[in-house]
Symmetry: C2
Subunit: 137 residues, 2 copies
DNA sequence: GCTTGCCTTCAAGTACACATTAAGGTCTAT
DNA sequence: ATAGACCTTAATGTGTACTTGAAGGCAAGC
């Protein structure tokens, strides 16, 4: 499969696929005789994995670190698990934040009045959370 | 309240507050006699609103458009509601995507093997979704 | 009167994640 | 054999969302 077909299959642009390869987010891709990339299903799966993690908010840099660990020969399953679990925690927090914002918007929609501004109670709660986060650092 | 206190209260940097004002995400802030910003709770609430929507993935540009509509004199409640509802839909989709990725990672953690790559079935499902999205455009 | 610490504006710099362009190679069809 | 549609690398450009730096003003404390 050439890069264009891979692009169409994954929804990731050709330029982005080359970029991912260069940045070691996906393995080095085999080449045809004339030097064109020949992409197989293993690569497609890796691209798809990258896309999912990117959509979930993982940065190129974090992804590279994880993948390098993964590709290393040593048995670092524990470390890999830890990283996955860390990422999972980040994503769950993101999801919860998103849910809060959704609740907030739903509230505003239901009480459609002064809806652009946070209410006093909400503000106090947010301030409390902010202070808490700071204390946790 | 000066800009530094406002920054500490909201967790948004002084520079970012100035930037938000310049970009009309928050109203023009009152000044003291010497020209320093004097920030009241109304502004704090607006900053907090912006922070929430930003964290939920709303761009500066979309936010500005929404806020400009809101600040306009005409009665455009319906339009505002529509925009809020649109944003709500975007956020819910984001939350669901995030949940899918979380499920995916959890699965990988539980079947810790070949976990970096998407399975064949998942791949087929993703391809299906991709085709569907394309068809919807 | 000088340092410290806050503030101001305006311009320029930065990080991320690609996208685009340039210059050229290969393959297929007409 | 020339066009068209792919491909390659390398360098440069782009948009977003700020951050940082320069140059200066104001007020308090030593």
């Amino acid at each position: 499969m050439n890069i264009k077909e891979a692009s169409e299959k994954t929804g990731v642009s050709s330029a982005a696929i080359r970029y991912y390869e260069k940045e070691s987010l996906i393995p080095e891709i085999d080449r045809t005789e004339v030097g064109n990339r020949d992409i197989d299903d293993r690569i497609i799966r890796r691209i798809t994995f990258v896309t999912q993690m990117r959509a979930a908010g993982m940065s190129i840099d974090s992804l590279r670190r994880y993948i390098q660990l993964f590709d290393a020969q040593e048995d670092n399953t524990k470390e890999q698990k830890a990283i996955l679990q860390e990422q999972l925690a980040v994503m769950e927090e993101k999801r919860d934040d998103l849910q809060s914002a959704i609740d907030h918007l739903n509230y505003k929609l239901n009480h459609f009045y002064d809806h652009m501004e946070t209410t006093e109670e909400e503000l106090r709660e947010l301030e409390r959370q902010h202070a808490e986060k700071k204390a946790n650092q």
